[in-house]
């Protein structure tokens, strides 16, 4: 944690907090029966409730509440059995009712925490302040017409979880690690797909700078940053801007800003300028949300094994290095694939094969773990052939590539290409006799004490046997014959 920005007046430390808006995975919207799928025809997934027609009323979706509770449990957070929905009042083109239904005073989830790991292998705990449920807004398209903005309300009313962190992060790297870890947890829980490109996960970044030992200075909120990379860049850019403001004798104004990736700078957000008196009050169309303990317990019992626990288990049960385990659990699908391959086999060999040749092939061919270049079963089969000495390690590589190309199971490839390793000593002796005969001079040098020639004889023998000789046997026989 020695990251600082060097200014004219010395080193500045960063204080970073994240507000992440995560779109809840549900069939229908938070308060209406309209669908939530991404990319539908404009305004085709809009009910009169979403469009705030006269007399329309909200009715809450149980699954959205369940997803928020699951997420809270996954963040080791306190679940509030009494929470309430408030109205956040402001006028905007994609906010049909003129207010957003959110949870201001009484969120459904209270304080929790996330453990992040940094490149140097160190870990840090980042505090979660709260998680609350709220409605997403619609979408304004500003580039369709020279004088008009177009409004699509498909997204209006979709459930969001706003997950607010403590200002516990001090470097862009920590913010990136936090965002990646949060994404992994949400995907494990199945409460958000974490797709930042489609906007189902968006980050508002709160940044301030200070001299070492100081209290907090004024922060700015950089809104809707939509990739981990941009979040890290936005923090850097905003922090540098603030340092310049302070050092030029100015005052940083608390304001909402936007990050412009192209120019690598942040700028004030015009549309938010005068929106800052939201007049929150309890939504009179809704009643307090009261959760019963039994239901919470039921949801808890249904939670999957989360990444931290899985990683610890991989280290413990499979004897993997912590780093490898971390790579394998980053995505639930990868972890499951790995376990299918590793079950009842050499778990380390399985990890090496997966993280080596398999990942290489997957990336080379632009495939994914859901659509792998080689099935888990075949990959296991390949490991079995090595284990039972049907083939040796060098041949295994060749077989794997053939599997990728042909999609054939390993055994079939070994048979077709006749790649079984030779364990019949007769055949090996014959091969070795030929080699020694053809290299009588070298045999003499060896016997004369040039031990390092032994490797040469092994190589020649393997060559003669097209690589299929059992390495151990070849060694034994050579030793004996060269005596």
């Amino acid at each position: 944690m020695s990251y600082t920005i060097e200014g004219k007046t010395g080193a500045w430390e960063l204080v970073i907090g994240l507000e992440v808006h995560a779109q809840v995975i549900s069939n229908a919207k938070l308060f209406s029966g309209a669908a939530t799928e991404f990319g539908a025809e404009p305004n085709s997934q809009v009910s009169f409730v979403d469009a705030a027609f006269p007399g329309m009323l909200p009715v809450i979706n149980r699954e959205c509440v369940a997803q928020a509770v699951r997420t809270g449990l996954g963040l080791n957070a306190q679940i509030n059995t009494w929470s309430r929905f408030d109205r956040k009042n402001y006028f905007y083109a994609d906010l049909p009712a003129g207010y957003q239904i959110s949870q201001y005073q009484h969120p459904i989830v209270g304080t929790g925490e996330i453990e992040i790991e940094l490149e140097d292998g160190s870990t840090r705990i980042i505090g979660i302040t709260r998680l609350h449920l709220e409605q997403d807004a619609g979408k304004s398209l500003h580039d369709q017409n020279p004088t008009k903005s177009y409004i699509d309300l498909n997204r209006a009313g979709v459930a969001l979880m706003e997950i607010v962190s403590e200002p516990d992060m001090r470097t862009p790297e920590e913010a990136g690690a936090y965002l990646r870890k949060l994404r992994t947890i949400l995907r494990y829980l199945g409460t958000c797909d974490g797709n930042m490109e489609e906007g189902s996960m968006r980050a508002d970044v709160n940044v301030s700078v200070r001299k070492a030992g100081e209290g907090f200075r004024t922060r700015c909120e950089v809104k809707n940053v939509n990739s981990v990379r941009y979040v890290m860049q936005a923090i850097e850019a905003e922090a540098r801007r603030q340092v310049e403001v302070w050092e030029s004798g100015g005052e940083v104004e608390q304001e909402t800003r936007l990050f412009e990736p192209a120019r690598g700078i942040t700028r004030p957000m015009r549309s938010k300028e005068d929106a800052h008196d939201y007049r929150y009050f309890p939504d009179p169309d809704l009643l307090p949300l009261v959760l019963d303990e039994a239901w919470i317990a039921e949801l808890k019992s249904g939670l999957p094994e989360l990444p931290d626990a899985k990683r610890a288990r991989f280290v413990r049960d499979y004897g993997l290095p912590s780093y490898d385990a971390g790579v394998l659990v980053a995505e639930q699908a990868t972890a499951d694939f790995y376990e299918t391959v590793a079950k009842g086999r050499d778990a380390k060999a399985a990890a090496n094969l997966l993280m080596g040749d398999f990942f290489a092939a997957m990336n080379r061919l632009g495939r994914s773990i859901e659509n792998p270049p080689v099935s888990a079963a075949d990959l296991g089969g390949l490991l079995d052939l090595v284990a039972d000495k049907t083939i040796n390690g060098r041949i295994a590589k060749e077989v794997f590539e053939a599997m990728v190309e042909t999609g054939q199971p390993p055994a079939a490839i070994v048979e077709a290409k006749g790649l079984r390793q030779v364990t019949d000593t007769g055949a090996i002796e014959a091969a070795i006799d030929k080699v020694l005969e053809a290299n009588a001079d070298k045999v003499a040098e060896y016997r004369g004490g040039k031990d390092k020639l032994f490797g040469f004889f092994v190589g020649q023998t393997m060559k003669a046997m097209a690589g299929k000789g059992n390495p151990a046997l070849v060694n034994d026989v050579l030793k004996r014959k060269l005596g």
């Binding site: 027609f53 006269p54 329309m56 909200p58 009715v59 083109a93 929150y280 009179p284 169309d285 809704l286």
Partner: protein, 491 residues
């Protein structure tokens, strides 16, 4: 006796006995509307063709001996209830030509039960008013006249003034109305008819243009207590589309009207004796209590110490909710749009042109009491006083089955008399507002005339979801009062 003079119950009996057809009945009301509505302005929209279609369908059903509770009964629908395919205005210019693609739950329930809709009744803009003078479609004339001054145009009360005037003038057998601070009970009292605001949650709010969501309740107005009971029986019921709708069965309200009050304990809140309350109101109140005593009820003094704060509490809570509820009228998805140089300007010009003076005042008051720095002093404090007011009623209903008070501090007043003083206008609702804050049922029943020959009403308040006791007490007052006076202007 003319068809339009029948009560809803009488008309229903004649329809079922095939003594009259719905087409005849509906035709008679449409004819009366044609004659009188230009003057009274009780209807904003008259749906004659649709009404006759519905009437013929009702007759076909009746001919087959199939009928629902309201088959063939012509009604007026307050223009706050969204009606599919029929323009709905909320008495405002801001909805412009808005035609709802949906039917409010309450009006849909009435259609389900066979009712015929004559048209959409006039109202104060967004139900904000007590005289119907804030309607963008003009005031409504109260069909009643002062004996001494028959030319003066009196207000019908509000906000359901069109509904009440239409029923009083025999331009409908009954009407839907809504009550946020007295908008059913006060116009009913001013027009010499009955009207009930049921318990909050009894009637669905879905599809009814919202004023103040935590206070709004739909209810009927009609010429008799029994007619109100019949209508409420159809309007009420659980609606999963309204999160505040109560999931409980709808009792037989009409049956409750015949119960009598023998052995019931009736509360009289001493705090309702306002200083300066007119003698005739005082006298009417005493008379009503005597009638109930004679009918076998026990009259008990109760105390509602915080109700004197109900009105100012209401004028924080209702505008606060309204300022948010009316934000959706922004000229983007429906209704009026006045173009501006940018979006904010479009909003401001649309809302400046679309909202009337009273709505603007309330939206601004509501915006102010919720704004940064004032929330605690106004809105939060009002919510706490509201809790105290509810506790008043909870305690009182620990001792009594119902509470009886005057419906209004005065009889109907003249158009224009109170428009320049908002607070004086607000005082109309001093007796009715507490029931909305507490969510309890309240009914106004015509009980007599004042010296000018104008109707006065008594209010019966009941426990939450005990409308049956309210109907029983109201019906007893109605029987004793034998109110038979008729308005000067009627079909």
């Amino acid at each position: 006796m003319s068809l339009t003079d029948l009560t809803l119950a009488e008309a229903r009996a004649k329809l079922r006995a095939r003594e009259v057809t719905s087409a005849e009945l509906t035709g008679a009301f449409l004819e009366a509307i044609g004659r009188l509505n230009k003057r009274l302005n009780a209807y904003i929209t008259v749906t004659a063709e649709q009404a006759m279609e519905q009437a013929r369908a009702a007759d076909a059903a009746l001919a087959k001996g199939q009928h629902g509770p309201l088959t063939g009964i012509p009604l007026a629908i307050k223009d706050l209830f969204c009606t599919r395919g029929v323009r709905t205005t909320a008495g405002s210019n801001i909805l412009g030509p808005f035609v709802p693609p949906y039917e409010s739950t309450v009006s849909a329930n009435l259609l389900r039960d066979g009712a015929v809709f004559l048209g959409k009744a006039n109202l104060d803009e967004f139900a904000m008013g007590s005289s119907n003078e804030t309607s963008a479609f003009g005031g409504v004339e109260n069909p009643w006249k002062r004996r001494q001054d028959p030319d003066a145009v009196l207000v019908p009360g509000g906000s359901s003034g069109g509904s009440a005037a239409a029923v009083a003038a025999r331009l409908a057998l009954g009407a839907t109305a809504t009550d946020t601070g007295g908008s059913i009970r006060q116009p009913a009292a001013f027009c010499g008819i009955a009207g009930i605001k049921p318990t909050y949650g009894r009637c669905s709010r879905w599809g009814t243009v919202a004023f103040a969501s935590s206070l709004d309740q739909a209810g009927p107005v009609a010429r008799t207590v029994e007619d109100c009971a019949i209508l409420l029986g159809s309007m009420a019921g659980f609606d999963p589309k309204d999160s505040t709708s109560a999931d409980r069965p709808v009792p037989d309200f009409a049956a409750a009207c015949g119960r009598g009050v023998k052995g019931m304990r009736i509360g009289v809140p001493r705090e309702y004796r306002l200083d300066g309350m007119s003698d005739e109101i005082e006298a009417l109140w005493k008379q009503g209590l005597d009638w109930l005593r004679e009918a076998g009820a026990e009259i008990v003094d109760v105390s509602l110490p915080y109700t004197k704060y109900a009105l100012p509490t209401y004028y924080i809570v209702a505008p606060a909710e309204a300022s948010s509820n009316l934000a959706r009228y922004d000229g983007v998805r429906f209704g009026l749009r006045v173009d501006g140089e940018d979006l904010a300007d479009l909003y401001e010009r649309t809302r400046a042109a679309g909202f009337g003076a009273e709505v603007k005042r309330r939206v601004m008051i509501g915006t102010y009491v919720l704004s940064a720095g004032y929330y605690d002093a106004y809105y939060l404090r009002a919510q706490k006083v509201r809790a105290l007011i509810l506790k008043d009623f909870t305690d009182a209903f620990g001792q009594v089955d119902a509470i009886v008070t005057p419906s209004t501090p005065t009889a109907a007043f003249g158009q224009g008399e109170r428009m320049d003083d908002p607070v004086a206008m607000y005082l109309n609702d001093v007796f009715t507002v507490p029931a909305n804050l507490a969510g309890i049922p309240g009914m106004s029943v015509p009980a007599g005339l004042n010296a000018d020959g104008l109707p006065l009403g008594l209010q019966v308040l009941g426990k939450p979801f005990d409308e049956e006791s309210v109907f029983a007490v109201s019906a007893a007052i109605e029987r004793a009062a034998a109110f038979s006076a008729r308005p000067a202007v009627m079909a």
